[in-house]
């Protein structure tokens, strides 16, 4: 099982670092560290896992409903349902205060647990787990490929759902139902529709789809906890010349970014390759933080993992990393446009996971 492979790798990393027990924190926003060590996809409340050097794991949860779910979904882990999770974990760590302990991500731990007044010291184990999260095992890559196929299918369903008069949240309802039918329990998705008035994507609103709209989405289904993202834009009706011209810039930027993905390159190299295309066309202002957050990011047990693809992030790319390259940003002539593909870094460069054509799609007005 993939969770067993992860566990073995974690224990090896802990042994190499001399860590005797590892504490991993998670919630539904930052759940990847917890998922990696305890194989539980948390939805509500806080969760903290404590992993011993022999691999035995206790998972502390402060939601009774989540604790019940965890007992069924992660039978290999000992579940502790407690109202005050920080103090319960603290009492557990008091017993091993003389050992070398680390926590990840330390900055998200409850303040009480990280307080220097405790009997134990929690080193920052974030970098240790970040390495494991970023550098995927073959089994993890295989799951990501299944998620990518689902992302392609879900985007096809999305295009079918884009019908003038429908509200944004109704489109998302269709896609969530599509994914549940496929046995996919989770997805991250934001959306935009309109023209030059749209500065970015957000959760769906009550806005209705109209003829001429650019409809953007970032769709991110998960399989066994692994998220793969696809970004595409469609036009309601026939794309006009300005929209086609603008989209060509994004396609060129995506191709440049994907071409820059290779072992030895850095996240910054990929971002620079994308952004240079925009700068070439006089759109350099639109690759700044005023208009765009990141030019891509890691994929895995979180839909927005490290490394962030930005010109000041020097994380080296190595085989086994999974990323999305997405030169999403605002275009002054047409509005917000998105285009992005998930890739895996291989010895030979990028292997693109998604098969959906890099087109500015048109749907019936």
């Amino acid at each position: 099982m993939l969770s067993d492979e992860r566990r073995r790798r974690l224990l090896t990393a802990m042994a190499e670092a001399g860590i005797e027990e590892l504490v991993a924190y998670g919630n539904a926003w930052q759940g990847d560290y917890l998922r990696y060590v305890a194989d539980f996809g948390i939805l509500e409340g806080h969760g903290i896992a404590v992993v011993k050097a022999d691999g035995s794991t206790e998972l502390f949860l402060d939601s009774a409903s989540e604790a019940e779910r965890a007992e069924v979904e992660t039978p290999a882990v000992t579940i502790r349902f407690v109202s005050d999770i920080a103090r319960a974990v603290g009492a557990r760590l008091d017993r091993v205060a003389n050992q070398r302990l680390a926590a990840a991500p330390r900055r998200f731990l409850p303040n009480w647990l990280a307080d220097k007044g405790r009997s134990f010291t929690l080193e920052d184990g974030t970098a240790l787990l970040d390495r494991l999260l970023m550098h995927k095992l073959p089994g993890e890559i295989a799951v990501l490929k299944r998620a990518a196929q689902l992302a392609d299918e879900a985007y096809a369903a999305f295009r079918a759902a884009v019908v003038p008069g429908r509200r944004q949240y109704e489109l998302v309802a269709d896609i969530e139902a599509f994914l549940r039918r496929r046995g996919c329990p989770d997805n991250f998705m934001i959306i935009g529709s309109g023209g030059k008035d749209v500065l970015g994507m957000t959760p769906p609103s009550e806005r209705r789809i109209s003829a001429g709209d650019l409809v953007t989405t970032e769709l991110t289904p998960s399989v066994e906890g692994y998220f793969v993202q696809i970004c595409r834009t469609c036009v309601v009706g026939n794309a006009n010349e300005a929209q086609r011209r603008a989209f060509a810039v994004y396609r060129e930027a995506l191709e440049a970014g994907v071409a820059a993905v290779r072992p030895g390159a850095t996240a910054a190299d990929v971002a620079r390759a994308e952004n240079d295309v925009f700068r070439k066309y006089g759109l350099g202002d639109y690759v700044t933080s005023k208009w765009t957050r990141v030019r891509g990011h890691g994929l895995g047990l979180f839909c927005d993992s490290k490394p962030h693809i930005l010109e000041d992030v020097d994380t080296p790319l190595v085989p086994g990393m999974a990323l999305i390259v997405h030169p999403n940003t605002y275009h002054p002539e047409v509005g917000y446009l998105v285009l992005g593909d998930a890739v895996v870094v291989t010895e030979r460069g990028a292997e693109v996971l998604c098969k959906t054509p890099r087109e500015l799609f048109e749907v019936a007005a």
């Binding site: 402060d62 979904e73 046995g183 957000t202 066994e224």
Partner: protein, 351 residues
Amino acid sequence: MRRGLISHSKAELPDAVLDARLARLRAAMAEARLDVLLVYTNNTRTAGVSWLTGFVPYWSEALLVVARERDPVLVVALTYRVKSWIERTSYVAEVIHTPRIGLEAARMIAGWKPDAAVGVADLDGLSAGIADDLHEAGPRLMLRDATALFGRLRAKADPAEIALAVKAASIAQDALSRPPARGAALGDIIADAEARARGLGAEEVYIAAAPDLARDHRFRRIEGEAARGASFALRATVAYKGTWIRLVRTFVGAGAATPDEAAGRFAAAVAELPSERGFASFSSWLVEGCRIAQPLAPLIGSRVAAPDPPAPGALVSVQGSVEVGGQAVLLGAPALVGERGEAASLLVPPS
């Protein structure tokens, strides 16, 4: 991550309601001699900030800075590009964007008063990184735990919150109302329920299933294919404009006991809340509600070791498992705890 409809309706959550909540908070702050109160939010701990502003982050995090003499300021880690979305979906005077929300909040407060008394709702549970940033940028600020203060204000639901819970309950009821087609796969049943809830404007929907009550009564999230038994149960956790409820429905096979008797016993047990007496014949039960920011925190129940009974007038979601005629029946519905000796009442009937 939140991906349902996040919107702000002045008809459902009027400014006057939010102003009144803020006024009560400021009065309590004055009594406690707090200059400022901080409330943290992320997409799992939404219920403190949403109660004061309507703001619900779809991801990321924020701190609401409530000063006694100034308009509240929302310090968010979301980027500037979504400023207009935040302004559309919440009632807040000023929004500041920064990746280090603790640092920015402390700088701002220290600029007003370097040694301000700053209450923090759930100070112990605040992320360590944010607490460190508060200390770094406001070394003279006096941080105090304001959990009890905030919890007292948050405990009793006002009519607007009750109305939102009723709406959430009606969405969940609709989602679980239709009997599945003969032979329908569990994934299709869940998909249909979720589509209905999201199509009705739910902010979030989690559908959990106990696929075969003859084998296991516990709920889980379904991934891949799951066979269902003759009797199974679904639990819909639904958020609507910041207010969360759970509803449970058991689907029984032909010839099995109907859940009607169980529903009656459940309603009778709920009526006795906050007393636990009514649940004596239940094999398990749970009452959840909001104390500070977690929308559905455990309050009392068969597995809750440190009970925190709901206050009079509190909104809660109740779940229970009871056996009727040899058949396990799982039930759940939101309820309002009575005041002045009144019985607690279900917002929608269990079925």
